[in-house]
Symmetry: C2
């Protein structure tokens, strides 16, 4: 199997490493900015190009890890799509972005938050697959199963829903960590003190659903604490933090106690 990875951002970097480590036939990396991918290509001993004209035409699978708004630009410039399978790794793009160019296409969406410099094992990452036909799925699925033990087929609509869920479970969670860190700083305390709490909060939902794990003033409807917290936030001139506090508290209260 010959695999070309397009894009050497967070996802592209981690995926290229995983393909390389598992010996799965990574044979070329494409990146618009050659210099940003040079270290990765050197690390993996893999040919690198920044010119779509130089893409290998004999690969079995082309994995596009490019940003959503870049993907279409790049696709438009590709001279020949050939018989290879083209997949992207986006949570939000429909599979059909490839339809104007080729019949052989699909999606390989890893549900994870990637950073360029933080190694992650693909073994447990849910890989969400979609393909334009049975033959395409038969090529994509074994590759996915070589990378992860958690492979699922799902529709574009399901994937879009999952991507939205991931925004809450990851991006917004991290934003809450960030605000918590700022609040600690206001009180001259280290962010580090919060880590056991952050761990346990994440660990709890491995055993029971979030609604059973909910604690805090909002679920108890403890107006006195809520009001004190809001006036603290307002005294720091953080109206957006206060608004977010108010709305998340309302959400928690109404989930657990019905309408206010």
């Amino acid at each position: 199997m010959k695999i070309v990875v397009l894009g050497a951002g967070n996802v592209g970097t981690q995926l290229s490493r995983a393909l390389h480590e598992k010996g799965l036939g990574l044979c070329q990396i494409y990146n618009r900015h050659r210099d940003r991918a040079a270290a990765l290509a050197a690390e993996l001993g893999c040919p690198l190009t920044d010119d779509v004209q130089c893409l290998r035409q004999d690969a079995d699978i082309y994995v596009c890890t490019l940003k959503d708004d870049v993907l279409d630009d790049v696709l438009r410039q590709i001279p020949i799509f050939g018989e290879g399978l083209w997949v992207h790794t986006s949570g939000s793009l429909p599979m059909t972005v490839f339809a104007p160019y080729t019949r052989h296409y699909g999606v390989l969406y890893p549900l994870q938050t990637f950073s360029r410099d933080r190694a992650v094992s693909f073994e447990r990452i849910p890989l969400c697959l979609e393909a334009s036909g049975r033959q395409e799925m038969q090529l994509l699925k074994p590759l996915a199963c070589s990378l992860s033990s958690n492979v699922r087929e799902m529709s574009s609509d399901q994937r879009a829903g999952m991507h939205l869920a991931a925004v809450f479970a990851c991006n917004f969670v991290n934003a809450c960590y960030a605000v918590a860190g700022d609040v600690m700083q206001q009180s001259e305390l280290d962010f580090e003190l919060l880590l056991p709490l952050i761990e346990e909060t994440a660990a709890k939902v491995h055993r029971s659903l979030p609604d059973l794990a909910q604690t805090g003033p909002a679920v108890r409807g403890d107006r006195r604490i809520i009001d004190r917290h809001l006036s603290l936030l307002e005294s720091w001139r953080q109206p957006l933090w206060a608004d977010i506090y108010r709305q998340l508290s309302e959400l928690i209260y109404t989930r657990h106690n019905g309408q206010i």
Copy 2:
């Protein structure tokens, strides 16, 4: 050392177990509802009372794990405070709630989310201490250090700030997990699929501060995805989820890209 624990809710249960396991002299449990604490008292082989008149008067430390709004009620009914040290475990109550009753008081606030039926090790939990005097701290600190290796002295103001930070880092994070779970359900997908993402999101901030770990459409300013997510939420008639999505996205965007 003789210790009385007042309250057998989530904190009281876990703290009593920890005191018992470490052989730290737990000698009585008080709970307003005798039946709710009976199983715990039996498990620990510890005398139980539901009558403040029957509180032991010779204990060295009284640890009040009662709800904030119950504590003062109970304190008012206690006939004799004696020479023991009285502490509470609340993140939000000032230390001085005890001042009308005794000179020997303080706070032992464990920064963690407790459930009655989920065992937690106190070993790494930050225990935040405050005491009315040096003598009181000299009694409280060794007890705290026997329970945890992460013991800090802090003021009531710092503890209030920390409690607010904990609401963001735990309660609001869990609320985001809950919404994510509902979004998964809307897409006929299991919550479980999100667990590797939840784990990694929590793990990331052990290595770098949250701002460096931020990913997703909001930090990239990807309007197209944000708008699609908002219309999905609105199509599900979830205006509160949409408002929270909008505000957390604005928070993330402005943190990373300056004012909109």
